[in-house]
Amino acid sequence: MTGMQLIFLIAAAVVVSSAFMSVTSRRMIHAALWFVLALLGVAVIYALLEVSFFAVVQVLVYVGAIAILIIFATMLTRRALEDHGKQFNRATLMTLVIVSVIFAGLVFSLRSWPQIQSMTAPLSADQLDVGVLGLALTAPDGFALPFEVTSILLLAALIGSIYVAYERKEKKK
C-alpha cells in the first residue's frame, strides 16, 4: 500500500462517516458541522485527483459559502423541531433497505464494466494549467454559452431568493 492510497482511505473514511453523521444527527447545527467535515474530506479527494482548482473551489464555495448559508438558515429556523421529537419519518427502515439495494446494484454494475481497473500517470504541467480551463470556458466554440448561462442562473437565484426571504416592511409595521 502506498502513502497515497493510505491518504485516500483516511479521507474516504472521514467523508463517509461524517456524511453518515450529518444525515443522522439529531440537532440540525451538528448535522451542518458534520457536513462541513465531509466537504473538507471531498476537497482532499480532489487534491488526490490533482485537480487543485476544484479542491480549492470546494473549500471556498462549499465550506466558505454554502455551509455558512446553511448554518445561518438553521439559526433562523431553529425554534421548530430542534432537540425534541423524531427527526426521521416512518419509512426509515424501508428506506434503508431500498438504499442498500441501490448501492448493491451500483457495485454490481461497476464490477461488470471493463475499464474499472484503469490506472493513470501523473498529469503533465500542460494539463495542470488552470488557464486551459479558462480558455475553454471563454472560447466561442467551447463553453462560452453555458458559462454565460450559469451567470444568468445565479442572477435568477439571487433575485428569487431575495424576493422570497426578504421581510416586507409593511408587514412588520
Binding site: 429556523t77 421548530a80 431568493s161
Partner: protein, 104 residues
C-alpha cells in the same frame, strides 16, 4: 496509484447516504444538506472519470460539468433555504411534510 474504482465506490457510498437522508429526514434543511452530499458524489465521479479517462485527450467536458454543478448547488442552496425561511415565517415549521400547501 489509486485505481479508478476506489473513487467510484466512494462516490456511490456518498450518493446512497445522501439519498437515505433525502428520504428519511423530516427537517427541510436536513434534506437540503443531503442533496448537497449527493451533488458532491456526482462531482467526485465526474472529476475521477475526467482524470482517468479523458485527461490525455484534452477534453474538458468533465471539468466544465463540475463547474456547472457548483453553480447549481449554490443556486439551489440559496433558493431552497430562502423558501424554507419563508415557509418557517408563515407556518413556524421546517418539517417538510407539514409544508404541503403552497398557499400563504
Amino acid at each position: 496509484m489509486i485505481p479508478l474504482y476506489w473513487y467510484l465506490l466512494l462516490a456511490a457510498l456518498l450518493f446512497c447516504i445522501g439519498l437515505f437522508g433525502v428520504i428519511t429526514r423530516k427537517n427541510a434543511v436536513g434534506i437540503l444538506i443531503s442533496i448537497e452530499l449527493m451533488l458532491n458524489a456526482a462531482n467526485i465521479n465526474l472529476l475521477a472519470f475526467w482524470r482517468y479517462l479523458y485527461s490525455e485527450t484534452g477534453d474538458l467536458r468533465g471539468q466544465v460539468f463540475v463547474i456547472i454543478i457548483f453553480v447549481v448547488a449554490a443556486a439551489e442552496a440559496a433558493v431552497g433555504l430562502a423558501m424554507i425561511i419563508s415557509a418557517y415565517r408563515q407556518k413556524q415549521t421546517v418539517v417538510a411534510n407539514e409544508i404541503d400547501s403552497m398557499k400563504g
